[in-house]
């Protein structure tokens, strides 16, 4: 069996939760051949892998969302683009977003040497954009609208132009561009199946980013958000199975139009063996180690973490904060964090960079995560595997992990509000000053992890899915 995983902006270029999950999954199925279709920003990242690949990962393809228009030497590419009636209707359905005729859209972009310039700067796109404008936005500036539309569709066209290699199963790790490529793949390769595993809900995450973005104004935010919704709905339509990490996520998928019968909840899983016999904290060490296994990026809100620690440290000088994760993803933000530490003159904050989690997690007394957006953070699960409680902000599945989702186990940490420095400080002090509470919560987390979040269960669930989809494909082949 051949599984083609389609990943956007993570594996194998960036170390993180999603990348680790993909790597773990591939390594867990040595009998399946995996290919990767990696969607990245541009060619400057070409081949810059940060993982060593297992043997069953045989090929990696790259798609760039910013690239040149490779029109070929063929003179045809220099002529005007003309669409037939069916193609024109498909294009209109794509822009307007009602019952998108994805199959016809895929066919348009499967043409040899289709020039993106001829398409986006051509009369067909202009006329369709004018129809869309007159239908929905007749009162806004037309030039701004047209150029917004072009910038929205440019990365999508790069994705649509890619012709996916043949595989039995296409496994997308998000909707968005990955979902569309997966959809195109099953549309053109009859008999193949599409599996979507969403870690965060792509549409919701893009929506949040767009709402916060200063470079998009007013009604254009709605246009961008609608575009991502369209892409997700397209992917859900073509998918055979759609998984989420936790139930709230699944409910969001249903809200976004995913048919309920396609959905399943498959939580993350951690390999417990990784956390056996790990180095522990020295007996008699008086310090209270607070660990944060995070990348230094704005979404992890390290600044709030540092500030909260600053206030907690004033009350409990034995506290130490260990921030363990790479700082190269957003150098500017990382420098701001270092500057904040200097400015606050906080002692006992240590930046360790990229580490092997197992080497350090045992030495921590508790973990902290102050993200403003999360899915089902692996760092909390790893903490549970090492019997460490977590302080986390109420994002994604953090509440469910720490307080349980109507299971028989007690709290495994403290959940706080996002960016609430006093609340986070108080949570740090609560656990710092109560060793028994820490140990009890750590034990609760461990039990919860054993029952619901261990790797064995994850592999079994995906094995079942791959077999189901593979059997359906074989059933189709066998007639």
């Amino acid at each position: 069996m051949k599984v083609c995983m389609i990943v956007e902006g993570s594996y194998p270029y960036v170390v993180g939760g999603v990348s680790s999950w993909v790597h773990q999954l591939i390594a867990s199925f040595p009998g399946i051949e995996f290919n990767i279709i990696a969607i990245i920003t541009d060619r400057t990242l070409r081949g810059k892998f940060v993982y060593e690949f297992p043997e069953n990962l045989t090929k990696i393809y790259e798609i760039y969302l910013q690239d040149f228009d490779w029109v070929g030497k063929n003179f045809k590419s220099r002529k005007k683009l003309r669409l037939n009636t069916k193609e024109r209707d498909a294009l209109k359905s794509l822009l307007v977003g009602e019952d998108v005729q994805w199959k016809e859209v895929f066919q348009i972009f499967s043409k040899d040497n289709l020039s993106i310039n001829k398409f986006l700067m051509g009369e067909e796109f202009l006329n369709t954009a004018m129809d869309y404008y007159n239908l929905r936005f007749p009162e806004i500036h037309f030039s701004d609208f047209l150029w917004t539309l072009r910038s929205i569709y440019l990365p999508l066209i790069f994705a649509l132009k890619f012709n996916p290699p043949k595989a039995d199963i296409y496994h997308c790790v998000s909707t968005g561009y990955a979902g569309i490529i997966g959809s195109k793949a099953v549309a053109i390769h009859g008999g193949s199946k599409l599996l979507i595993s969403e870690h965060g809900i792509y549409t919701r995450e893009r929506e949040q980013e767009i709402i916060k973005a200063k470079w998009i104004k007013g009604i254009y935010k709605n246009i961008w958000i609608e575009q991502f919704k369209k892409m997700s709905q397209g992917a859900y339509m073509y998918a055979d199975i759609v998984t989420a990490l936790f139930n709230e996520s699944r409910l969001l998928q249903l809200e976004l139009g995913c048919p309920a019968e396609k959905t399943r909840v498959i939580p993350n899983g951690i390999n417990i063996d990784k956390f056996k016999n790990i180095p522990m904290k020295n007996e008699g060490d008086p310090f209270i180690n607070l660990g944060a296994i995070v990348r230094l990026t704005p979404i992890k809100d390290i600044k709030t973490m540092i500030t909260a620690f600053f206030y907690a440290h004033k009350e409990q000088p034995l506290l130490k904060l260990w921030i363990m994760g790479p700082d190269d993803e957003d150098k500017e933000y990382a420098n701001e964090c270092y500057e904040l530490v200097e400015y606050l003159n906080v002692k006992d904050i240590y930046f360790l960079g990229k580490i092997n989690t197992a080497d350090y997690i045992g030495k921590m007394d508790m973990l902290i995560l102050t993200s403003i957006s999360e899915g089902q953070p692996l760092t909390i699960l790893e903490g549970f595997a090492a019997k460490k409680p977590s302080i986390a902000t109420n994002v994604g599945n953090c509440y469910g992990l720490i307080h349980g989702e109507e299971d028989e186990f007690q709290d495994a940490g403290i959940v706080t509000s996002i960016m609430n420095v006093p609340e986070i400080s108080k949570a740090i002090l609560t656990l710092a000053n109560n060793k028994e509470l820490r140990e009890e919560m750590g034990e609760n987390g461990y039990k919860r992890f054993l029952k619901y979040y261990n790797e064995t269960r994850l592999i079994e669930d995906y094995e079942d899915i791959y077999n189901t989809l593979g059997r359906k494909e074989k059933a189709v082949e066998g007639g």
Binding site: R46, G47, F49, F53, E55, L57, T58, K59, I60, Y61, E62, I63, D67, F68, D69, W70, V71, G72, K73, N113, S115, I116, N117, L120, M121, G122, E123, L126, M130, Y133, N134, P138, E139, I140, H141, F142, S143, L146, R150, L154, F162
Partner: protein
């Protein structure tokens, strides 16, 4: 021309008979004054120095020299004028004033180089084959360069709207030329034709020097970005050619008649056709006042609509854009129609005046037979020129160069055909060429008006084109390790 247009609009908007005559006079003074000054200077020289007293051959040598200087300097200049003008207009718009000096220097060097490349072989021939005296030939060459530089300085001063200054410089230059001609002839006892040629040559250089120094005064800084000027020529080569073709088209019919058996050959070098050339000159002169008057008004009124349309494109709703687009093209159509009808009236009136006056002035016989069709031809070619201006506005350089080429080719072929007919049909070839070019440009403008939103919103590319097959997306293949 826009500066005159603003003032003309103010004058004509008063809408009285007196202000209309004032406007006509204003336009004539400010736009064709330089040409009038040169003509009057020549006439004054002819009269005072006694041009009629010298031999026919000497008179023809001088007339032919001046004819060639005028025509070929205009042709050389026409190759460079649109691009330099565009470059300067763009830099002024961007307020990069330090880039103007490089354009003046590059333009001057290019024009003089091109002029010399044409002139030197010709004048060598004149010396070696024509046996014209070298000092005369050299002075003709200098006059040619001087005339070319004068056109160049006119261009720069027109960009700065220095119409009054230009007229003053011409007046100064030609006054000095006249006085020098008198000095050379009567005090230094130099031959009459050489006195005239030498003094005109000095006069042109004085005008050019005054003009260029006036422009340089406005732009003291120099960015030294000469390569950018050359880059503009590479980018806007079509506009270079279209303007050249138009100018060539205005003279190519004359060149055909220069090859006729009844042409005039002077010193085995200068070839012309007195009768046909004179008829052309009179026909051109009859139309030129109307040209200037109405084209400046036309450009100004269209410019407002064009500006409104561009502002709507930048920040308006689609409905507004379409409204302004409609108004712009309606305005264009009505302006061309207005120009055609008003100029027709003026040309007819001047034609009737001409056929009464010219015979009394000594222009009769064959000249008056050829003259009517040439008036029609110049009338149409001026309408064609107005269409070219609009094609430049809409950045349809392809259309502009195609119509220019059509103008030249059809005029050439048609004149070859009609030059063997009865003299009253001699000008028909030029008429056919002008009409063909006008028609082509008209339909081109119509096509633009029907497709303008596409031309505006689908211009250029959003990505860089790479004319290669896309590299393989496969970046890792375990089987090949």
């Amino acid at each position: 021309m826009a500066g005159i247009g603003i003032q003309l609009n103010k004058i004509f908007n008063k809408n009285t008979l007196i202000t209309s005559f004032y406007g006509i006079g204003f336009s004539i003074v400010y736009t064709i004054m330089p040409m009038l000054v040169v003509i009057f200077t020549l006439l004054a020289m002819y009269k005072v120095l006694g041009f009629q007293t010298i031999s026919y051959t000497e008179r023809q040598l001088f007339s032919s020299s001046i004819l060639y200087i005028f025509i070929f300097s205009l042709l050389v200049f026409s190759l460079f004028t649109t691009v330099i003008s565009k470059y300067q207009a763009d830099k002024i718009f961007l307020e990069h004033y330090e880039d103007i000096r490089p354009s003046i220097y590059v333009g001057t060097v290019l024009i003089l180089t091109c002029a010399s490349c044409i002139a030197i072989p010709f004048y060598c021939y004149a010396i070696l084959i024509g046996n014209i005296s070298p000092y005369y030939v050299f002075t003709s060459y200098m006059a040619f360069l001087g005339m070319t530089l004068t056109f160049s300085s006119m261009l720069h001063n027109l960009t700065l709207k220095q119409y009054k200054q230009l007229s003053i410089y011409f007046f100064i230059g030609m006054t000095i030329a006249f006085l020098l001609s008198v000095l050379f002839r009567f005090v230094l006892d130099i031959s009459l034709t050489y006195s005239m040629l030498l003094s005109l040559s000095i006069g042109f250089f004085i005008i050019a020097a005054l003009g260029i120094s006036n422009v340089l005064r406005f732009f003291p800084d120099n960015s030294h970005r000469y390569k950018e000027v050359f880059a503009y020529f590479r980018k806007y080569w079509r506009q270079m050619l279209s303007n050249f073709f138009y100018t060539l088209g205005l003279f190519i019919h004359n060149f055909i008649f220069w090859t006729k058996p009844w042409n005039l050959v002077v010193y085995s070098t200068y070839v012309s056709n007195e009768t046909y050339d004179m008829a052309s000159f009179l026909a051109m002169f009859t139309n030129v006042t109307a040209t200037v008057l109405f084209i400046t008004r036309l450009e100004m009124q269209f410019k407002d609509k064009y500006k409104n349309y561009n502002e709507a494109v930048l920040g308006g709703k689609l409905k507004t854009i379409k409204n302004y687009e409609g108004r712009m093209f309606d305005g264009l159509a009505s302006q061309i129609f207005t120009l055609a009808s008003l100029q027709f009236i003026i040309s007819v009136i001047l034609f009737f005046i001409a056929i009464l006056l010219f015979p009394r002035m000594g222009f009769s016989g064959l000249i008056m037979d050829i003259y009517p069709l040439l008036i029609i031809a110049y009338y149409i070619s001026i309408l064609f020129y107005s269409e070219l201006i609009f094609l430049y506005y809409f950045e349809d350089s392809k259309g502009a160069v195609m119509s220019g080429m059509l103008f030249v080719v059809i005029t050439f072929l048609a004149t070859l055909w009609t030059s063997n007919w009865n003299p009253i049909w001699y000008g028909l070839g030029f008429v056919i060429g002008a009409l063909s070019a006008f028609t082509f440009a008209f339909f081109r403008l119509r096509w633009i008006s029907n497709n303008y939103h596409t031309l505006v919103f689908c211009r250029d590319d959003i990505l860089k084109n790479v004319y290669q097959e896309i590299p393989s997306a496969l970046v890792y293949n375990r089987n090949q390790l």
